[in-house]
Amino acid sequence: MNSWTVSFVVWGALLLLLAASTATAVLVAGPMAHAFSLACALAMAALIVTWFMGLRTADGLLRVFALAAVFWLALLIALTLADFLTR
């Protein structure tokens, strides 16, 4: 598959994930629907970062930079929520 085709496939996958996430949120609601919507958001972000932002073909150092950013964000969110989720 050439690069243009892959880009269109990724775009289509993003739209499908968006449709699934939104339909679940509107029709189901509740904690399970929230978890599903958040999982879809992570999948959409991963698709954009790996393909549209080219991380899939980037060299090792760039990947480390990107992962470090996500790691710090995960620390920030996990440590903050650890307090409120365990009260």
Partner: protein, 214 residues
């Protein structure tokens, strides 16, 4: 294209390209932490007031949010294709795709503006001392939700404006086509910024519009 020279601090064009990309990714990491603080605090209040935040979210227009998400995904696609077109030396196609991205970005802001105006009209804009006429059970904490809503969508829209300014300058450089390898690098790094704004919107949309109660 092969006779282009790197800037004097670089050994070759490849090294310069890597340095450009690295700089942009590092900047985006700081941006992620800026938005991350907002998302983390939203998460805390979402956990503290699940019913109120869930109900407040159902006052937002999911259809307009979805329309804007589709627009941004499509602009992500046109940016990626513009990048590849410019890399292949296809100036006209690259320019058309970049202008398409700018048009989509403007459409996003118009829809967002329309949405904000509607919320202003029904009294759901508790900013700058405007009245807040929330019809639900817990207006005090719903006000918090809407404060987050305007802070997050406002900060995102500010990034969209910066991105549109950036892409407009790149479009002008692309139109002039004076130094193709340099333009290809500029399109790549500004495309990274635009895609990042896309990623942020995915989470803004999911957190604010989709975590709703029935």
């Amino acid at each position: 294209m092969s006779d282009a020279e790197p800037a004097e601090q670089f050994d070759d064009l490849d090294q310069q390209k890597h340095a450009n990309l690295m700089g942009m990714w590092l900047f985006l990491a700081t941006e992620l932490l800026l938005f991350g603080g907002l998302f983390a605090s939203f998460g805390v209040f979402r956990i503290m007031h699940p019913e109120t935040f869930g109900e407040a979210a159902s006052h937002l227009s999911v259809s307009l949010g979805v329309a804007n998400t589709v627009i941004l995904f499509t602009s992500g696609l046109t940016t990626k294709l513009a990048d590849e077109a410019v890399e292949a030396g296809r100036r006209g196609l690259g320019l058309a795709l970049l202008l398409g991205t700018i048009a989509l970005g403007l459409a996003f802001l118009v829809i967002k503006g329309f949405e904000w105006h509607h919320e202003y009209e029904i009294g759901l804009m508790p900013v700058l001392g405007l009245p807040f006429e929330y019809p639900g059970a817990d207006p005090r904490n719903a006000r918090l939700f809407f404060n987050f809503y305007y802070a997050m969508t406002g900060l995102h829209a500010a990034h969209m404006l910066i991105g549109l300014g950036l892409l407009s300058i790149i479009a002008l450089l692309l139109y002039r086509w004076r130094d193709p390898p340099k333009i290809a690098r500029q399109v790549r790094i500004s495309g990274l910024y635009w895609a990042f704004v896309d990623v942020i919107w995915v989470f803004v949309f999911t957190f604010l519009y989709l975590l709703r109660s029935g």
